[in-house]
Subunit: 130 residues, 2 copies
DNA sequence: AAAACTATTGACATATATAGAATAGTGTGC
DNA sequence: GCACACTATTCTATATATGTCAATAGTTTT
């Protein structure tokens, strides 16, 4: 079986290029979560489906939950068990902290820079192809 | 010592936020190299400095060389030792293959998608901050 | 001939991703 | 009352990616 991401996924699925997540998508997971949590506190499971709305689909739940826990240990987010009865087992509510907001602002600058870089790359890609 | 990349780099350098590469930058290394090689064959060492022009600085040389070797094993690029005498040890000339061009086109679509995602994120970030 | 620069490779450590199972509560149909 | 589907989170094993530094080696400068 071929490598699944980064190098390798391009030439793999001749004819049937299936759903592939690029590493780029995954590396945007963190800012995406922060933005969503800035808007309002949410549960992990909710975030999972919110990400799909973003088009950030095919990210494995484990990755999302782990990222949330990592961000909690950095104190970018805080969580409590939701006391309200719901349709299932107990669930955590995550919300952004003050430090999380700082992180988000750093991410904003990061994303702006990246956007510029990608534009440059795309320009140069298409320059001699037309 | 704190984590060096991904999560962690934001809150680290209070006051002196030094040169940090974001994971995003590194994940653009591959398309960047492909674009440069599409324009013309180049040596690894040359590519290294070309990347700096891109603003993709602070990527460790090993990483670049390794990426080139990986792409060669995927037959996206080919290399030969440069026979011309130069100021130093022998060096490899890398050039794009037909498969490499396909990879580049795949990358193009990938980058366009990513660009869209980032725009969305940035919009939503700034929406309630103004 | 030491030092500085050009150029590439290799080995090892750490970080992150993928997949799938484990755990567990709730609701539905039978 | 129990099989099944759904909600919700965690854990563990393994694969892959990335970071860091040392090693190798030729060329030019002092």
């Amino acid at each position: 079986m071929m490598p699944r991401h980064r190098r390798g996924w391009v030439m793999g699925g001749f004819g049937a290029p299936p759903e592939r997540r690029s590493p780029l998508t995954v590396s945007l997971l963190e800012p995406a979560l922060l933005v969503l949590l800035k808007e309002q506190p949410r549960h992990g499971y909710t975030l999972l489906s919110d990400l799909e709305t973003w088009g950030m689909t095919f990210i494995h739940p484990s990755v999302v939950y782990r990222t949330l826990r990592d961000m909690e240990s950095l104190e970018w987010v805080q969580s409590d068990w939701d006391t309200a009865q719901t349709q299932g087992p107990p669930r955590r509510t995550y919300r952004l902290t003050a430090q999380g907001e700082e992180a988000l602002q750093y991410w904003q600058r990061e994303l702006e820079k990246t956007q510029g870089l990608i534009s440059q790359l795309l320009e140069r890609m298409t320059k001699e192809r037309r």
